[in-house]
Symmetry: C3
Subunit: 335 residues, 3 copies
């Protein structure tokens, strides 16, 4: 009888934190239940075979989240060399670093984009796969070709963060650890792939950003220059949202849809404009909610916790009406 305790694991000292789970020297569990495991697996197997709506055995691989995170990290190093590695980046090693990083990122991008193209085409003949592999290379090349423009755009976002946050001590701090900037960097890459028509991959990228930062920006949204999200947890920016230049927002802001019209078959209509348009120079404070295909006019300020389902003119200031709360004196609690 195996006793499943940790003293079975080889003593490895305090560096155990660094090793991979599952590496442990494990004795296999044995016993009556383990012996009956094959029966259980047979039933699972039959259930999977009978499964209708959700295809479970794909004849092609789906994009792999870990690889996509690695791609994002490599692309971040191309956009902001010297910020995300453990070593100092000198003039002397910069060019070598860029070339190597671009090479690896390109190869991995080709592989993951091709998977998504094959998946979208639902065809995995040798010819279809080679065609997708070719197309994936063009997509990866086009994306990297936009990096000079992305660098310029992201520099503006860093500046906007510094100008918008009294707690910021400098631009390096923003690049290294501001979640709003991290989410935006990933969004801006994903958005370009979305515009190029790459399926699935952009959403996997923004969902990684969502997981990392709590900021959920759909890759289909359009976001102008000098955008800043402070704190950011709980922000949702829907698929058809349009945001102008110099916009600032805080944690918990929702730019969402108001209603979900259905077609003649009762199915949801997809793809039509259903999220807000935010014009230039708008500030939206924490936990405000703006729903529907409304327009927030340029220069407006939307106060904290405001709930808005209609358009407002430029230079409006929208705040919660009245104090919105009742205050009464409590008797001192006995403790």
């Amino acid at each position: 009888m195996a006793v499943p305790f940790s003293n079975q694991a080889e003593e490895k000292g305090v560096d155990e934190g660094a090793r991979q789970p599952g590496d442990a020297v494990r004795r296999d569990v044995r016993g009556p239940w383990k012996e009956r495991l094959p029966e259980v697996v047979d039933v699972i197997m039959r259930t999977l075979e009978d499964r209708g709506t959700v295809g479970h055995v794909c004849t092609y691989a789906l994009p792999h989240q870990d690889v996509i995170v690695l791609i994002i990290n490599l692309l971040s190093r191309l956009l902001f060399p010297g910020y995300f590695g453990e070593k100092a980046m000198h003039r002397a090693n910069l060019e070598f670093h860029l070339r190597e990083t671009a090479n690896i990122a390109f190869d991995l991008l080709c592989e993951e984009i091709a998977k998504c193209l094959v998946h979208a085409g639902a065809e995995s003949s040798k010819e279809a796969r080679e065609r997708c592999a070719q197309e994936a290379q063009r997509h990866a090349f086009d994306l990297l070709g936009k990096f000079p423009a992305l660098i310029d755009l992201l520099d503006g976002d860093v500046r906007a963060a510094y100008l918008g946050d009294p707690a910021a001590t400098g631009s390096d701090e923003i690049v290294v650890c501001y979640p709003g900037f991290r989410a935006l960097l990933i969004f801006r890459i994903a958005h370009e792939l979305h515009v190029q028509g790459v399926p699935l991959l952009p959403r996997v990228m923004t969902e990684h950003a969502h997981q990392h930062t709590g900021i959920d920006i759909h890759p289909g949204a359009t976001i102008g220059r000098n955008f800043f999200i402070d704190h950011g947890t709980g922000v949702v920016i829907g698929e058809t949202t349009q945001i102008g230049e110099n916009v600032k927002m805080y944690q918990g802001v929702t730019l969402g849809a108001l209603s979900f019209p259905t077609d003649e078959h009762g199915d949801l209509r997809r793809g039509f404009k259903r999220h807000p348009t935010i014009e230039d120079e708008v500030v939206i404070y924490s936990n405000a909610t703006i729903l529907g295909a409304v327009t927030i006019g340029g220069g407006s300020v939307i106060g904290g916790n405001v709930f808005l389902t209609h358009s407002v003119e430029p230079h409006s200031k929208v705040t919660r009406e009245g104090p919105g709360h009742r205050i009464r004196k409590m008797r001192r609690r006995a403790r």
Copy 2:
């Protein structure tokens, strides 16, 4: 004098992102402060020895978060083979894959469940540990025996997500990257372990889901078929919540407790029903808060940002009263 800079690290090229932190070829720090480190550790040691309330030296191991994440990933591959690996899953390798995955998941589950049982029993004699190891095997077996039902349940959740989100392009996207689905998959596994009476482990699982998605569902909650959480960040679903079938909710929804009654000793009462009951076909929009053991009648719609502490009848529509905000025109700011 060691100079603690990155040029001490061996040049490793751009693939440094992949290596483990701490692998660096580091020279040990030396100097007067380092020499006095043992004194500091002695004081920490004495503090730990004197510590009262929080036991710091356990005679048995606690469940290990990294292993539990690995278990969740393996179980996900059993429920949705072909979605979470890097390789395509063919008919030809499916059976081998399922058997291997089930074997490894079973062994790891036994190990972690046994730790939790020993911990709950607070007894670590050889006999107690062998008894817990046996019991852990039964629990792991019972869990896997529920997988056919879980597959059916989760397929319904995927379908609900597709029917509920106009931005969804297909069910594969939902399985691969929707956080609401990820949280629910982990919750449904954890809930079964909770129902079986496995201590601690279910909560560690749902807290991993919480960390990954921002969605905090207590493993004790009861959730019916075809449940969909969109976006999800900030959702809290408390321990005694009951949710019917075909319920949809959005980010930031709280289903929480209203008050915390204490017993005759002034200690919190634990375990009694204190969270809402949500009947079938209810929709709860973003950032709504429902507190207390109230009932939201079937078919009701709870609007965004609504704050509700009493029951509502079936087919109610609850919205924020009035516009809830004040709009005034600003003078154009000089820039």
Copy 3:
């Protein structure tokens, strides 16, 4: 023509989850686009060279997030030995464990603090680097010297969580998996480094906590004994916030700034008191927002979703005014 599919990867069985992304046996992509990649990299290179505001080539390394996460894990094991490792911690191995953990944590801390000091000084001569290395050792030593006090403080926080949450089954569960406690443990370490004047590193630490838990506490905030945040996603506690003893709060609470005064050049003023003061024994329920340098008097209760921009006296109870919503009966929807 490389076909970038997963069947290129060596068959590795189900344990692929454990291996590092990028380890795959990959064939290099070849083709016309790949051949033109060097041109694209040249343009990126020139763009980076022209870049103005955001320095991209640092002559010294910035702190490395993965190493800082490792440091946090090591320091957690010093504060709560036996909770975060895979192995049981016995009396017999405790001292060895503490000495080894302290040694490694000290060395890594020295390295990362020194990077931050060099970065803040923007000087990387050999002399400056050696001076920073020395100073970093003093900072690391001072931090570890505060650990007995931190252990005492954190034990109080665990107790507060147990007393404040009816769903808590014991203090071990809180240490192992409560996000509010995790965020606080990291904050309390980061705050000490902040008080010592270590630049950048404290913020990188609290942003890791933010990423992990959705709780964003600036390292400059002051937080008294026995603090408890339940659930926690979306909590924001600003830089100049002061929190007394025995305070409890829930998910989504914002303690933020109300306005951002600028100096005579139109630049943001930084560092002045702009966030709330929360006195002892205050409870703040979910999604409440308190903005500005206001004071919430001792023993007050701030209700869920309250939006507050002025001070309240001790023992006030602030709730949302009226029901705050409109209920109407819907006709039963045809399905």
